[in-house]
């Protein structure tokens, strides 16, 4: 057995580690950055592509719902995050999302301010349906129920007959919470507007139910906790929707974090075996502890 064991003396790394502590911190923050700082470009590229590729593939498989931090509720602690966090900066927003979010941001009954953004969805009216694309302006009062404020839609309606410009107001509005782990923020209400008349005809009134979504900014969906406004876990919903993809995503992201631990050690201490192949001990050399 000892004939094939690697010799510890062959482990001296030839790489220039520069400032190992700084390299370790950089390697933690962004996989491969510590090695780039040390001038070890092949390893920098390898760690960057492999670790971040695995991490974001896991996030993609799990529809962005597999990396989040939850520690206050003992029954729903995310122990997986203890591994995921080692992926560095891509995993750290999860802590901020849990620590600095107001509970109102998880409540679908409130809008924390006026909302203006692009909108895509569908309009179902008396004589048909069509696809809506455009922009929408939702005053805070339209959601929070203060008065008769309405949202305003401006864009186009696409039906089998073609695409026409459309403007109108949306009342009885409801919108999903500001923060949730997906990019589309659902919005619906009752639309009333006018289709422009063809070749000088008067405009045609149109009314019906509008349903669609406005995009959430990255900060409102990236690694947000799976909680509702009352702090209840939405883990069951995520499992229902994703099935085994949830576990696959968790495993991918955990492995990415754990692999970066190896990369951090490599940045701080150098490679375990150095440049050399592990060699059997030289039979001509005296064994350690047996002085001649």
């Amino acid at each position: 057995m000892s004939d094939t064991a690697p010799t510890p003396t062959a482990a001296a790394p030839k790489a220039n580690l520069k400032n190992p502590i700084l390299a370790g911190v950089l390697a933690f923050l962004i996989p491969g950055l510590g090695h780039y700082y040390q001038g070890r470009l092949f390893k920098a590229a390898l760690y960057f592509v492999c670790i971040l590729g695995t991490f974001f593939t896991g996030l993609r498989i799990g529809h962005g719902q597999v990396v989040y931090f939850q520690w206050e509720d003992p029954e729903n602690r995310t122990y997986a995050y203890l591994c995921q966090v080692w992926a560095g900066l891509p995993a750290l927003p999860a802590i901020a999302q849990t620590k600095f979010r107001s509970k109102l941001a998880f409540d679908s009954r409130f809008l924390t301010g006026d909302l203006n953004g692009s909108f895509t969805g569908e309009l179902n009216y008396k004589t048909g349906s069509g696809r809506l694309e455009g922009s929408i302006a939702i005053p805070q009062a339209a959601i929070n129920g203060e008065g008769n404020n309405a949202a305003k839609f401006t864009g186009t309606l696409t039906t089998d007959e073609g695409t026409t410009p459309l403007e109108g107001t949306v009342t009885r509005c409801s919108i999903e919470s500001q923060v949730a782990p997906n990019r589309d923020r659902g919005f619906e209400g009752f639309f009333q507007g006018e289709l422009p008349g063809k070749s000088g005809d008067p405009p045609t009134p149109i009314a019906g139910s509008l349903k669609g979504s406005v995009p959430r900014p990255l900060w409102d969906w990236y690694e947000v906790p799976l909680n509702d406004a009352h702090g209840n876990s939405e883990l069951d919903r995520a499992h229902r929707e994703l099935g085994s993809r949830f576990e696959l995503g968790v495993v991918y992201t955990m492995i990415a974090g754990l692999l970066n631990v190896l990369a951090i050690f490599d940045a701080v201490y150098g490679p375990a075996y150095g440049d050399e192949e592990p060699r059997p001990p030289d039979p001509n050399q005296p064994a350690p502890g047996k002085a001649t």
């Binding site: 390898l46 670790i51 498989i61 991918y252 490679p271 440049d275």
Partner: protein, 73 residues
Amino acid sequence: MNHWLTLAAGFEGIGLTRSWYAIPLIVVISLVYSASRHESSELIVRRALRLAFTIGAFMFAVMLVLLFLSRNA
């Protein structure tokens, strides 16, 4: 190519379609582990290939054992 399709269909038939997710993980783990052991890029790639093959063969052997044990289930 047809062999791969046949293999994929066989995996699907016995409910192992998700096993394909293991392949990129095996490759990545092998590369990163080998990179943390060695400095030379040539040595890293060579050792990673060997490790990937070892892990793959081990997992395939375990899969065969499990399939054998569950043949009547």
